[in-house]
Amino acid sequence: MIHIVQNIIAIFFILAGLFFFTTSIIGLIRFPDFYCRMHATGKGDTLGTILLFAGFIVYEGVTLTSLKLLLIPVFIFLASPTVTHSIGKAAVNCCAKGWEKEKSKEEGASA
């Protein structure tokens, strides 16, 4: 009985995580410039990872392995914003221009 409840909660978490992964990738493909794409990946990856690993931990139960599983989302929670920040800094120093609403007609959609 408790196994079935565990599995249902795990499936719920994993499906939610997959949904946010999917939207982050749709955002990555559809957004017009590089900074907006960073919005999609930086946030979507963090929440998708946290939700998927929550599902795995619930499925696994209280063991040493699930304690180890907990370390990866903690790491990605710290690393994903750092990566976003670092790439953004590189973009600013390379003088990448962002997409803006008014100028989009003249300059095209690329960054």
């Binding site: 949904f19 946010f20 939207t23 982050s24 749709i26 955002g27 559809r30 957004f31 017009p32 410039d33 900074y35 907006c36 960073m38 919005h39 999609a40 930086g42 946030k43 979507g44 963090t46 929440l47 946290i50 040493l64 392995t65 304690l67 180890k68 370390l71 710290l78 914003p81 750092t82 976003t84 920040h85 953004g88 800094k89 973009a91 600013v92 120093n93 962002g98 997409w99 803006e100 609403k101």
Partner: protein, 166 residues
């Protein structure tokens, strides 16, 4: 001083146990020796400011955990926002790069604040220039939330910093 050294060694030893997962005497003793040795060399990297007492550190950790819970909720909101933008056919975005003046002084709180800006709806930190953050906002309405400084006050409360009023 000695207390901080022991705490560093205990943290390292816990990590050893979690990563090895083997409980025979050989691994346990090796782990103990290694964590004592490594703590001897590196304990001043983990605890930079030696004046703060241990109960204060515990209080800080507790407030930080509370803050993380609030941040998780913000991440969910941010992702729902991004999902709505990505799935809407016309994509109503108006991106701008803005400068946000910050009043935090400590390195730890600046890092926490920058990462929190990235994880909350519609804004990402791009660069730090002295005491201003370069923030890319996907919609200018969301930048107002950031400029009102509610999150900054929360971070300041976690790390016990006094913000001067504007």
């Amino acid at each position: 001083m000695l207390m901080l050294y022991i705490i560093t060694a205990v943290i390292l030893y816990l990590f050893w146990i979690v990563f090895s997962g083997i409980f025979d005497p050989f691994h346990l003793i090796t782990g103990a020796v290694m964590s004592l040795l490594i703590a001897f060399f590196t304990w001043d990297l983990l605890f930079k400011n030696r004046e703060i007492s241990i109960p204060e550190r515990l209080g800080e950790a507790f407030r930080f955990a509370n803050y993380i819970l609030w941040l998780l909720w913000q991440i969910v909101i941010a992702n729902i926002y991004v999902a709505r933008l990505a799935l809407s056919p016309r994509m109503p975005i108006d991106p701008k790069i803005i400068r946000v003046p910050i009043k935090l002084k400590k390195d730890v709180s600046m890092v926490a604040f920058a990462n929190s800006i990235t994880l909350t709806p519609g804004t990402i930190t791009i660069s730090v220039e002295g005491d201003t953050f370069l923030v890319h906002a996907i919609d200018l309405k969301l930048a107002d939330d950031l400029l009102s400084g509610e999150m900054e006050r929360r971070v300041a409360h976690v790390f016990r910093e006094d913000l001067l009023p504007l």
